[in-house]
Symmetry: C2
């Protein structure tokens, strides 16, 4: 496994040396984990002139699901609190003879950046930008396997919930119950705060559970996901509570389902991000829901739940094979509720069978 991390660091080194920096300092936790196999709290990863070094805020803990730092890295643990590992790392870069250091300006605060500059005045600080985020977009099969297991866990948790009595329970309790089941089935934890939305809340993206109770006739929309070995995925479904959905509910559901299918079917290597978004969006647009639509139709997933690419109207770029993304159009009608359907899929070429669906819970409209 060590090779994987060394290769990633080597690709990053090619990037920043081509940009003229002698060394790079990675501080964004998901990026540290991608390159070092673990991201102890506050740790900073120095890709230096001589060697790569992980500077940690304190002694390493053994925490399940958190990973151990890659063995080819030297680990330097600061003795106590107070010192910023990033400042220590910058000082070491200067001591190793580097004259410039590329840092993650989108992650470092102004104060911390100033601390770095003061701690290593001989270093010219440049911007590493989103270089690591870009490396992270295309996943290897090991990463995809973690996402696949996480998706299975999500499917299991959701499946069990559907077998229980729902009417009368609050959004918050259902969300907590789902999170407990994720952990029961082996997740490190939830990938993001579980969203359970009922009645007028249903269909709202990122709705935070309230004390509203599930009632007969409600739409119920649920969005959850597991973290497994650091990898996060997402599934969202909408159900109807009671024996017979109303006509407007069936129509709205069919429409969002058609939009979601159009988005899924447009996933292919070489497809423009915005074209995937448009495929889903135009189905809803042409039915007159332009105002009710979320700003994006999907996004990448991996070590973060919301990462590149963004499948949105103004997004630039094209999908590659082995990029996992969500497809999650939805419509929310204020005061009435709505529908969201959300899958995680991996882009695959036609020859390999097309997009691989990781979240396999049925998308029929279930009346519970």
């Amino acid at each position: 496994m060590s090779e994987v991390y060394a290769n990633r660091r080597s690709r990053l080194r090619d990037h920043f040396t081509a940009a003229g920096a002698a060394a790079a300092l990675v501080t964004h936790p998901a990026n540290v984990r991608y390159l070092a196999a673990a991201a102890p709290q506050g740790a900073a990863l120095l890709l230096g002139g001589c060697e790569d070094l992980l500077v940690c805020a304190g002694p390493l803990d053994d925490r399940p699901g958190e990973g151990r730092p890659d063995e080819s890295l030297r680990v330097h643990a600061l003795p106590g609190p107070g010192a910023d590992p990033a400042v220590t790392a910058a000082g070491l870069a200067a001591a190793q003879g580097s004259d410039s250091l590329a840092v993650e300006e989108h992650h470092l605060t102004v104060s911390r950046h100033r601390g770095l500059a003061a701690g290593a005045p001989a270093l010219r600080l440049t911007d590493l930008g989103g270089a690591v985020e870009q490396l992270r977009v295309v996943k290897d099969e090991e990463e995809i396997s973690c996402l696949r297991i996480g998706a299975e866990i999500g499917d299991q948790a959701l499946g069990e919930l559907l077998e229980s009595i729902l009417v009368g329970r609050t959004e918050r309790h259902l969300a907590l119950e789902l999170e407990r089941r994720l952990v029961d089935h082996g997740a490190d934890g939830p990938a993001f705060p579980t969203s359970v939305a009922t009645g007028p809340n249903a269909g709202r993206r990122g709705h935070r559970p309230t004390d509203r109770r599930v009632e007969e006739g409600d739409f119920l929309s649920v969005c959850l996901g597991a973290t497994y070995r650091g990898y996060r995925c997402e599934i969202g479904r909408t159900f109807v509570i009671g024996t017979s959905p109303a006509d407007w509910q069936i129509e709205l559901y069919d429409l969002v389902f058609a939009a979601q299918r159009a988005g899924r079917e447009s996933l292919a290597p070489g497809a423009a991000y915005r074209d995937v978004d448009r495929a889903a969006r135009q189905v809803l647009d042409s039915a007159g829901y332009a105002q009710a639509l979320p700003p994006l139709s999907g996004h990448g997933v991996g070590l973060e739940i919301d990462e590149d690419p963004q499948l949105a109207p103004a997004a630039m770029g094209k999908l590659d094979a082995c990029v996992p993304v969500t497809v999650e159009p939805g419509v929310h009608l204020p005061g009435r509720g709505g529908v969201r359907i959300d899958d995680t899929l991996v882009v695959r070429p036609e020859a390999d069978g097309g997009p691989e669906l990781l979240t396999i819970t049925t998308k029929e409209l279930l009346a519970l």
Copy 2:
């Protein structure tokens, strides 16, 4: 209530105008909430030359426990995603005729700060520093009342857990169970990730629950807290599993208890932060545990679980009345486990009865 928030903003205005800034931009979420009664995701609060303005990333949601923005504020909701409310606010400050803007350099990233500078080139950007954090240290009775309710919720959740069977259950399940009970009793959610530590893990500060199961003879240490109306508090206790604690367990427990009592008893208006820390620390130090001690003996709580002041050896400053702090010494012996005892208290003058204990669960050594 509106007066409370207007007064807080007025005190901040006195501060930044004295420092020579025409306007201030608050972006750290807890600070926004303190001054505006609510902190919608990504919102930026402008205290401008003419009026105060809360710029939000999108339309306001009604979310229980999250509060509504103070009515004396103008709210400006950006139509869609992509635009940074802070950049919009800076542009409005410039349009209102401000020539300088104090920003939170300890919260803004370098990239975002650059975006502000580019979006309002006529503005001179200065550093607001931790001015809002300083205002937040002393709480009013309304804030303390929220902490008191949160502490009661924590006591209830912990009490119920102690009545259940513990042997054979995993740290992770116990932690999830506690979090569910917090919500059952009216918490907005947990104040921080609940920590349950058994056997060799017991006594570790911030231990993240693992799949280890509770066994006979274990120390079991638990640290949890509720968020109530945004306010976060904390309680930690250590128990022994089984009928008869071992001698070393009783001795270690008595020692940590004595240290924690010494810390609690030293809380008074005018007491130096470091003296409170020393009171607790020297009990453990003189018993030979200098190496096993955490870096601090306690910290402030409020809208964040870990805020000013820090009760630590190098901390500068003195306690005021109405400052809520934790007192949480502990000893962890690698491979054997340890003890932590953690209370939230409010500093009160002797004449008012001395420190007010919010977390009232017994600190006797319970054998469960």
